[in-house]
Each structure stands twice: as C-alpha cells, then as structure tokens.
Amino acid sequence: MIEVRDLVMRLRGGGGPVTILDGLSLQVPARQFLAVTGPSGSGKSTLLGLIAGLDRPTAGSIRVDGRDLGQLDEDALARLRRDTIGYVFQSFHLIPTLTALENVVVPLELAGAADPLARATALLGEVGLAGRVHHYPAQLSGGEQQRVALARAFANGPRLLLADEPTGNLDSTTGAGIIDLLVGWHRERGSTLVLVTHDPALARHADRTVELRDGRIVADRLNGHGRP
C-alpha cells in the first residue's frame, strides 16, 4: 500500500536547515496496522504528512496505492487523499464554523457522493454522536470532536487511514474509545492503518511497530499477533 524510498525532508529553521527525515525507507503492505513511535521531533508526523501528500519531500519517493506522489500535482494529490486516504489529527482540526454534520459532509460532497447528508448522519451514528450532529465544534468535548474527525476520515471509505496521535489531546478513557473506533474500522473494512503514537501500550495493538529517531528507523518489529 505504501512504499517509501530514501525519504529526506529538510526544513528551513532559524539556525539553518533542519533535517527532519534522513533517508528513510519503509514498505507497508495493504491491510496492515502499523504503529509509528518515537520521541517528539523524530519525524513521525512529517512522515505521515508526506505519505498523505500534504507536503513535498526534499528527496526520495513515496508510492501510495501504486501511485508515485512525486508525479502528481497538487490537485491530483488532493483527489488521491479524497478517494483513498482518511486522516486523523491530534488536534482534531474541525472547521469551527461548520456543525459536526457539515464537517463530515465536506469530504462526501468533495467526492460527489450520492446523498451525503444521510451518509454523514449514519457515520456520526456509528461513532456514537447521533444526538450531536447539529452542534458546532466549540460546543463539543475533545472526545466528541475527535469522533467527528473520525467520522470525517471514514467518510469516503478510505483504503488507507493515517492517524497522527489521535489520542494525544484526550484523557486515557476517551482515548481508548477513539482507538477502539479506529482499530474497529480497520478490522471491519480491511483498510491499512498507520497510527503515529508515542504510547508504547497503544503501539502494542498494532501488527507492526516502527520506531523513529532523528528521522531514521531505529527499530522495525512485528508484534506477536500481527500479520506481516
């Protein structure tokens, strides 16, 4: 599903260029649940963003679902995200001026899906927010906001789910609920799931764990229950 080769990412910083990713290569087969761990600043989130085509790497290549991201222009990348990828952020990133329902409707409408309102309502039901569809993000708790974000990520039935510390801003109980929803979706629909986390306990749920440090993979292991 994902093929990352010799990925380098440098950013301009106050004191000169900063290397975030340093020649990283990684292959993630379809349907795998991969956890990416590592200390903050190790390049986890950047890796995830690059896989989603949110930014361009300094060097190296990324293939997602067989397509070389380097060959796609911004609009083609957007369409790839729309049709193939669901993204969940640590800080939810809901659009504050839209209701929960409208936030979920957006990707459906972007994809030109039939009956987007009904589908969005159903999705919010699936994440347990049937009664909160017309609330604005500011009127929802953190856990509820992340559920809306999950429903939004699930909207177009993505084959690849990218989750960037989705429980980082939540207490452990609420976080566990979110992880259950994510993993449940992955298991039921057979989608590939890449979860960035610094919580080792959470990482143990995954089929495989990759540990990053200073932009490089320092450990890559299959967990006992996992598939290759």
Partner: protein, 837 residues
C-alpha cells in the same frame, strides 16, 4: 457543483462581518449607478413620450425669417391632406408697468387659436386659450408677477402694446426648455403681436409652424419630403422623435458624468471588496489547508470562494439597486426642473440590470487577485504554522493582473458609453489611484522612520499604520478618492460662482441693448448717459444676414443635415464692421486689413471655430445673404474670441464700407453702477419700447442657479464615493478586529487605561483621515484646475480655506468611523480575550 455552492453558503454564514463589509461596499456603488441610470432612463422615456408636446407637433418648421411662399405652399398642401397647422412666433422683449416704473425682460410668444396641438397649456384660472387671451389678454409666468409686483387682472405693457394679465401659466408643453431662459414667458394672441411693435426691421423673431399630421402620414417620411421640397437650410424641419436634440445631449452628458462618479464609488467599494477578500483568505487559510487535506482540489476551492463572492456581489447589488431607486427619486427634483414636464421616476429594468451586472462584475474582478492566494495555501499548513504569511503565488500573476485591469477598464468604457471618455476616465483613475497609493505608502514609511515618540498613544497609534496585514493604503486610497471628488466639486462651484459674480468682472457690461433703430441712437445715448451717471454706452452697428455660400459653394441642406454644428450654417449672423481690430482681439491666422485694402473689395475676419466648421481659411471666401443681397467677402484673418468675456463679440467682422447701404440696427453695451441698473433699464424701456435690455447680472444669476442645481446633483452622487470610502474603512477596521481586541486587552493588562488605548486608536484613525485629506485635497486642486482650465475655460481661484476643510473633515470623519467600528472593543474585559487567544 454541489460542494462549492454549499460550502460557499457555510463560509458566508460563518463570516458575517466580512460579508456585511463586502455587501456594503458593493451596495453603495450600485446604488449610485442605478440611481443615475434609472434617472437617465426615466428622463429618456419621458422625453420620448412627451416628444410631440415638446416639439409642439408631429413636425415643426422653424426659421429666423417669416416662412417664404414655398414653405407656405407646402404647409397648405399638408393642410389639404388633413393636417392641422398652427403658427407660433417667439421673441424677447420688455414688459413694463409705467404706472409703477418696473421693467422686465420677457420671452414673448404669440400663438394662434389651435395652439397647442399636443399636450396641454395649464393656466390659473383654467379656461380655453381663446377666451383667456381675447383681444388684449396676456398669460404670464408667476415670476413676472413677482418681479413686477403685479396680480392677475392688472395691466402690463409689452413693447408698445398694453395688455391685461389674464392668468398665470403653470405648464407650457413646448417651452423649448433650453437650460437658460432670458426671462419669464408671456403668451399673447397672434393678432396682438403687432400692437407690441416689437417686430421691426432687424428684430430677432423665431417663426415656428407646428403641424399635426393625419394618421395616414408618417412624420419622418413627411419630413423627408419637406426637406427635398424646401432646400433653404435656414428653415429647420424637425420630426417629433428628434425634438430638442440639444436638451437630450445635455442630459446625456450630465448623466454620463454622474454615472462615472457613480462608477468611482463602485470602484472604491471594489477596493474594500478586494481588501476584505484578502483578509478573508488570510484568516481562512487554515480552513483552506484543511479542505485541501480532505481532498478539495484548487478548482473546487476557487469555485467555492468565487461563488461566495458572486452571491455576495449579487446580494449587495440587489440592495444597492433598491437604494438606487431612492437616489433616482432625489435626482428628479434636482435636475428635473430643466424640462417642462414631470419626470416620472419608476423602476427601470434595464438600468437595474446594468447596475446589477456592474456590481457583480466589479465584485468578481476585485476578488480575482486576492483569490489567487488560494492556490498558494499549502495543505502542509496543517502540519506546522509557517512563520511568514501565505506567499503570493508565483506563476504568471501578470495574467490575473491584466485580466482584472482590462476588465475594470471595460466596465469604465461601458459606463462611459464611449471609448474616448472611458479611456480618459481610466487614465485619470489610474493617475489618481497611483498618487493616492503612493502617498499612503510614503506615510507608512514615514511613520516607521519617525524617531521614538515619548507618548505611548502616539507611538502605538503610529505603529498601527505599518502593522503587518494593515490596510493603511486601502483606507487612504478609498477615503482619498472621495475627498478628492467632493473637494473638486466644491472648488469648481467656488470658482464658477466667483466667475459669475458681475462685481468682479470689471470688463463685463451690465447691459446689452438690442434692436436700437438708427434714428434712436442719439436719444439712446442721451438717456443712458443721463441715468447711468457718467457711463457711456458703446454702440455697434449690426446687420443681420444669413450664410449663403462658402468659397463660392452655396450652403444647401446637403451641407448641414446631420451635423452637430449645423446651427453655424443656418443661424442668423449678426455682422458688424470695424476699421481696426476691436480691443482684446487675438488674430490666429492672417492679418487685419489696411485702409487701402478695404476699398478694393469686402474683406472679413472670422472667428476660428466657425472657420473650422465652414472649412475656410485665409484667402477663402464667405458669401452672406443680407436682406436678399449676396455679399461675398474674402477671409483675411481668423480670430480667437473669448466668449466668456461677455462683451460684444462677433463671429464675422466686415471691413468698413462692405455693408454700406445694408439695413442696420445697433447693439449697445453699458456698464453702470449696480444701484443704477434698475433705473437705467426702466428709463431705456420707457423711452424706447422696441429696444430689448438684457441685464447681464440676471443672466449670470440664472447661469449660476443652473450650475447650483447641477452641482447639487454631482454632490449627491459624490457623497456616495465618500460613503463607499467609509464602508471600506469600517471594513478594514472590522477585519483587524481580533488583532485590535487582543492589543487593547494586552495594553490594558500592561497597565494602559481605557482612555490611553482610545487615544492610541484615535491617533491611528486621525492619521488615516488626515492622510486621505492631505492627498485628496491637493489632487482635488489639481483636478479642479484641469477642469476649469481645459473644460470650462474659467479662471481658477485659490481657496485655502476649502482645501484646509478638505483635510480637517476627513480626519474627523475617520475618527468618527473608527470609533464607531471599534468602541465596543474598548469595553471588553481583558482576561477572557487573552484566554481566547
């Protein structure tokens, strides 16, 4: 299409302040445009509907001489086919009341029983015209009663005839409106005209034959037939659909210029829309990044925000159009006084559609540039906050710039109605905007370079002028344009009114006396010298004649038909003779004649504009028909004449002897002290009832009154430019609301009092207003000078007080708008604000 539409609505709902600003920006401009265009359309429709009444018939034959036999025969033939013909003679003359000693210049009209053929003559008391006029009745305009202190039933003398005032004219359908009338109307019966003895040799009488055609005859076709039958170009033949071309031209020009002022207000609004769109995109960039993250491609996003802009533009335009109808209603009384019937102000679909299109297109063009930034917003923004604001997108910005520039220029040309006027407008607008923007930039740079001031409020207020994302340039330009226009109008009015002040025009006579017969000259001079103190009238012999040939080629209809300057060929010329060039003569070509040359053959000096129309130059010849005798004369020189000087000036001056034997009258001018004017007029008119006294003071006052009305109309529309500037400024302040809230909270947390914060705001607002005034006023002086010098050809008067006012008022306005838009911020408690940040 579903996503852009829905998303546009959601985004609009979530940003109501931004929406209100953009809405207001467009609404103000469209209101001005729709108001002017609706007025123009209503006027045009009314003129069209009333065309027959305005002309006085389906056809009008008009001449400065009595209709000749051929014309009479043609009219008789028409009457034979069922047409109705009525004749009208119009001239100016003097009304007087010997018992009380008042005199007044009046526009006299002698009508036959059938008058009017179309429309209605409204009188007080009402009644059939024949009965009202009887043998010695005169209907007069109210102004005559007021000026002479008369009432209905009183006697009044017109020339040598005594009349009884039979009633007051309320509405006269074919008062050939012209903008300027010489005096109130007096209507008498055709048979009574002889009693006035005003129609003498050499008097200027307009002979009109009005024709109502039977159904079967088409006015245009009949006119064409008459044109063929009656080749005399001095006989003007008009069909009703061509009534009052001069009036129509005047209104067309007035509404064009008002429309352009309206366009300025829309363009100022456009600045606000562009600024608003820029801040909107800047503030929304995170949402935009997120949408990209969720799979929105740039076309979808662009469509979304353009859809939003279009909807806003449309809504603003609709509101503006509604407001425009109110503007139309205001314009009607201001300008409508120039036409002899009520202008029916009503919904004009074409004007409204055009206003909506203008509003919509302006919105669209003004958001294109800021919306380019959509593409530049990177979805990676989600991952990390960039330090700099969104960079301007790289590829081919000139294409968008070119498209926006050409689009706006096209709108200007569309509004102007002609590429030339449109191009001048665009040039002037670019120059003014460039100067305003340059000054604004200079101001921000200056504020940045100022040494550190010891007062917190000043330091902080000045710093706000160059804050990142600030809109100093936009505000100064938007307000400055309005200041420029309003001050220009005021300057023009001041200069014109100074110019029209007889006391300041030492060289201008107080009176023109027309139609003095040769045997009256001595007595006339005695009378004037007796009453006017030591003032001596200047008498010039004049001969009336008609242009017959140019360089030997007869002037026929084929030379004049359809020409805007046809009047130059067909008018009655007032010729004079002079041995030496009159004072202040400027010869532009050729030279003046010598005494020897005058004996050889007739020679003439021609005014240069007339010569250009005729296509003659020095060495060519003009032939005049002087009472049936052709007089050919060689053009020896061309002259430039300053018609504004209001002295006795002539298009054509003959060499001495050339007109000898031709029947002449005298034209006299005299300047007398103001307090002697009335006495002089009364004395001359009493002694010489056939002489017409034209008081220059009255004429200037009438011109001034018309200028005032036009000025009021222009001011009304210019006020919309100021209005648009105010909305733009309020919009910019609203856009920086959060920054301001945060700053004021921070300052107060750091110990500044609420007054201190208010003072800092005041410094900022005052600087913005003062900058707009300091740029707008000098630009107004420049623009005013250009208009006075090159368009009106009137001397410029320096008005320092007005220019100062042009700085003080915008400063106060900016303070008022600023506090209006932000005073609530000052009341907010700091802690919740800081927490929210």
């Amino acid at each position: 299409m579903r996503f852009p539409l829905r998303m546009a609505w959601r985004e609009t709902r979530g940003a109501w302040r931004h929406v209100v600003v953009a809405f207001g920006c467009i609404a103000v401009g469209v209101a001005a445009l729709v108001g002017v265009a609706s007025f123009a359309a209503s006027l045009d429709r009314t003129l069209g509907r009333e065309a027959k009444a305005l002309l006085g018939g389906d056809l009008e034959l008009r001449s400065a001489r009595p209709l000749d036999a051929r014309a009479r025969a043609a009219l008789a033939r028409l009457a034979g086919t069922g047409a109705t013909v009525t004749e009208v003679r119009e001239l100016v003359g003097m009304a007087r009341v010997p018992e009380r000693g008042g005199t007044l210049l009046v526009e006299l009209k002698a009508v036959e029983a059938g008058y009017p053929l179309y429309g209605r003559l409204d009188t007080e008391p009402p009644g059939p015209l024949g009965e009202l006029l009887g043998e010695d009745g005169a209907l007069v305009q109210e102004a005559l009663l007021t000026r002479l202190g008369l009432a209905v039933g009183d006697p009044v003398w017109i020339g040598a005839g005594r009349f009884r005032i039979a009633g007051v004219i309320r509405k006269e359908p074919d008062r050939s409106a012209g903008l300027f009338t010489l005096g109130p109307r007096v209507l008498i019966g055709a048979g009574a005209l002889d009693r006035t003895a005003l129609v003498q040799f050499g008097s200027r009488v307009r002979h009109r034959a009005l024709v109502r055609l039977p159904e079967a005859l088409d006015a245009r076709a009949t006119r064409a037939t008459l044109l063929r039958e009656l080749p005399d170009p001095g006989l003007r033949i008009s069909a009703f659909d061509d009534a009052e071309p001069g009036l129509r031209r005047f209104f067309a020009q007035l509404t064009t210029y008002l429309g352009l002022v309206g366009l300025v207000s829309l363009l100022v609004g456009g600045i606000g829309v562009a600024a608003s769109a820029r801040t909107f995109v800047e503030r929304k960039r995170f949402t935009i990044a997120l949408l990209k993250c969720l799979g929105a491609d740039s076309r979808q996003l662009w469509t979304t925000y353009v859809t939003q802009a279009v909807c806003l533009g449309l809504a603003g335009s609709v509101a503006g159009a509604a407001l425009g109808l109110a503007v139309q209603a205001l314009l009607v009384p201001l300008v409508g006084g120039f036409v002899p019937f009520a202008i029916e102000a009503r919904l004009e679909p074409a004007a409204i559609a055009r206003g909506l299109a203008m509003g919509l297109l302006t919105t669209l063009l003004c958001v294109l540039w800021p919306l380019r930034r959509l593409r530049a917003v990177s979805p990676a923004l989600i991952l990390r906050e960039p330090v700099e604001p969104t960079p301007a997108p790289g590829p081919r910005p000139w294409r968008t710039a070119l498209m926006v520039g050409l689009g706006l220029a096209a709108l200007a040309v569309w509004q102007a109605g002609s590429p030339k006027v449109g191009a001048i407008f665009v040039g002037a607008a670019v120059a003014a905007l460039g100067l305003l923007a340059g000054t604004a930039r200079g101001l921000t740079r200056l504020a940045r370079r100022l040494p550190r001031l010891p007062w917190l409020a000043w330091r902080h207020g000045l710093a706000s002028l160059y804050r990142p994302g600030g809109q100093t340039t936009g505000i100064v330009v938007a307000l400055g344009v309005g200041v420029m226009l309003v001050v220009t109008v005021a300057l023009l009015e001041r200069s014109l009114s100074a110019y029209l002040d007889l006391e300041r025009r030492r060289e201008t006579p107080s009176f023109f006396f027309v139609d003095i017969q040769p045997d009256q000259t001595e007595a006339f001079v005695r009378t004037v010298s007796g009453v006017g103190g030591d003032s001596h009238p200047v008498l010039t012999p004049v001969v009336r004649a008609r242009l017959a040939a140019i360089n030997g080629q007869p002037v026929g209809r084929e030379r004049t038909e359809g020409r805007e300057d046809a009047w130059r060929f067909t008018r009655e010329y007032v010729l004079t003779v002079a041995a030496a060039p009159p004072a202040a003569t400027v010869l532009t070509r050729g030279r003046w004649w010598t005494a020897a040359e005058t004996t050889a053959r007739p020679r003439i000096s021609v005014e240069e504009e007339a010569a250009r129309s005729f296509g003659v130059d020095v060495g060519g010849s003009l032939t005049f028909d002087v009472q049936g005798v052709p007089v050919e004369a060689e053009v020896m020189s061309l002259r430039r004449v300053d018609w504004h000087a209001l002295t006795a000036n002539f298009f054509v001056i003959f060499s001495p002897g050339a007109l000898e034997g031709a029947p002449s009258t005298y034209l006299a001018t005299a300047r007398v002290p103001r307090q002697a004017e009335a006495a002089l007029q009364d004395a001359v008119v009493a002694a010489f009832p056939n002489v017409t006294a034209v008081p220059v003071r009255d004429v200037l006052e009438r011109v001034g009154a018309v200028m005032d009305q036009i000025g009021a109309a222009v001011r009304l529309i210019a006020a919309f430019v100021i209005g648009a500037g105010v909305v733009v400024m309020a919009g910019a302040l609203v856009a920086s609301r959060y920054q301001r809230l945060y700053e004021s909270a921070l300052l107060r947390t750091l110990g500044a009092s609420r007054t201190g914060v208010a003072r800092a705001f005041a410094v900022e607002y005052a600087c913005l207003g003062a900058a707009a005034g300091l740029t707008g006023s000098p630009l107004a002086a420049l623009l005013g000078w250009i208009v006075l010098r090159f368009v009106l050809e009137v001397p410029w008067t320096f008005e320092p007080a007005l220019l100062l006012l042009g700085v003080v008022l915008p400063t106060m306005l900016a303070l008022a708008v600023g506090f209006g838009a932000t005073f609530r911020l000052l009341g907010q408690r700091p802690l919740p604000l800081l927490r929210r940040e």
